[in-house]
Amino acid sequence: MRLAVFVSEYREPEMLERLKAEKLGIVLVQNGVYHAALKKDGNVSPVLSKDVEYYALSEDLQSRGFSDSDVVDSKIKVINYDGLVDLIFNDYEKTIWL
């Protein structure tokens, strides 16, 4: 399956380790964008350690004091709501909101 997992909180969701999919995308939204924008004690978030696609919602980054260029890893694609709609309709078939 092609699964988009929304991470909306700044903690590592237990389910994230378990979910498997042919194509897995992690979409960082709401407080989940802190995973994209911050290192803690010099380390990037463990949420970013998977070999999957990563996206962060630009509006949620900006509302929290970050700019799109603040993401800590270039593998994270910063997208806006328009891009997110395209992503969900074109690239993924199922979603889970954590």
């Binding site: 969900i88 309709f89 889970i96």
Partner: protein
Amino acid sequence: MGKITIGCFSSLVGSMSLDFAIKFSDAAVKKGHEVDLWLSGNGTMLGKKGQSKFRDYSYLMDTVMELINSGKFKITNCEACAKARGIGREDTVEGFGVASMDWYLASAFSTDRILHIGGE
């Protein structure tokens, strides 16, 4: 063009998940997609009449009304969840549907995508 069904169970005030759901719906409708939005649990307060627009509290009704008027957006409150909170049909903004939970599943039956945003 496709159809997405969004379920949002979070409160208008005290959570930003309804804000997300409405902004996502707005972007989807502007791209020509259809959106069904199911409000359950605390999400039902979005349809309550008489909300005030204060800067410290989320207010989404203007965008919701634009979406309803687009003809590509259906928004429906869970009847039992709303009634339990003292929100009857007479207290619900015109344009909102009121239905039992099977409405959400029926929408899920005929949709291309589901985005289920559970409660906090």
